[in-house]
Symmetry: C2
Subunit: 198 residues, 2 copies
């Protein structure tokens, strides 16, 4: 409120208008926003590639009753958590493309439209939730695969399917990066609105 | 921008000032914000109570080599994912208390301070990520406990530890509610800034 009174204190109103206070910071913010969205797109694409190329076939013994042995394939589609992860990352990838297009449209304008900033801030926050929940689910399954759980007899599988587990580690890292980027993008969109409210 | 031009079109400036355009919507938003934060606090407290009272001891057989039988206790502390869940929900509970105090401070003022709105929007988005990732991790472990995974020989345990699994279902529902509330709170804080930028 106090800051909005400042231009009124200037006697020459045209001088104030010739120095648009919002233009410079908004352009600077777009210069951060656009590369971040491109990085979000890249991280989701790498995660999708890693998850879809993670299948591995090994001679393994599964401790069923009676135990089963033979060549067995570890696939991400064997775990609902990893399927959810793939779906969430694909949707986030699609969103990153749409938001890059929206962010590009900012460049030609002196300041980003406020309604678009509001929509981006909301969807960024929504995708923080979607990508983080998928990351949590995949990480929990990966941890059981890596360490096992002796309390309930869930054996570790990463000593057999090492390539599969390396891929999981890779796309977990990508999803973590995507989540962090999305939190920063939410902050950036909100901060742009904050600057505009001065 | 268009809406800021409208008051200038009115000849009587005092008439416009007697109807502050931001005051009414801001008060309305606080009336939504405060109960939502109270609901966030309640949902996290219920989740903490459910998780800390979920221990259950049953006569169970664990398919180790050789199989072990006897009275065994299912505890949330046996799973790192559920420990992470508890920590995340405790931190979110603490944050909900702090944000309720901040939201209360809005009531006495004609409009919420913009910097506080920005800080709340950022932390709401951050907690969307934290609570959602904890929810995803706990849900993934709960799903394996409920259905098992025959591909890797992870047996289901919910047929033995039914009370334990009912508690998990309860606190997953509370965490889902908390995540949804946090997304709406992010939107609300951002929307308040959007209204102030008009």
């Amino acid at each position: 409120m106090a800051s909005t009174d400042k231009p009124a204190a200037h006697p020459d109103k045209t001088e104030v208008e010739s120095q648009p206070p919002n233009q410079s910071p908004c352009i600077n913010l777009i210069l951060i926003d656009l590369p971040l969205r491109a990085l979000l797109f890249a991280s989701t694409v790498v995660a999708i590639v890693l998850i879809t190329t993670s299948n591995e076939t090994e001679i393994a013994v599964v401790p069923l009753t009676p135990p089963k042995s033979g060549p067995r394939t570890a696939k991400f589609s064997h775990s609902p958590a990893l399927i959810y992860f793939l779906v969430a990352v694909c949707v986030a990838c699609l969103y990153s493309i749409l938001s890059i297009v929206a962010s590009f449209s900012f460049i030609s304008k002196p300041a980003p439209p406020k309604t678009l900033l509001l929509v981006l801030a909301f969807f960024d926050a929504l995708f923080v939730g979607i990508v983080s929940s998928a990351l949590g689910a995949a990480a929990a399954v990966a941890y059981i695969g890596y360490k096992g759980n002796s309390h309930v007899g869930w054996i570790k599988i990463c000593n057999v399917y090492d390539k599969f587990c390396r891929h999981i580690a890779g796309y977990l890292a990508m999803a973590l990066l995507a989540s962090i980027i999305l939190v920063f993008l939410t902050l950036l969109s909100t901060y742009s609105l904050y600057r505009r409210s001065h």
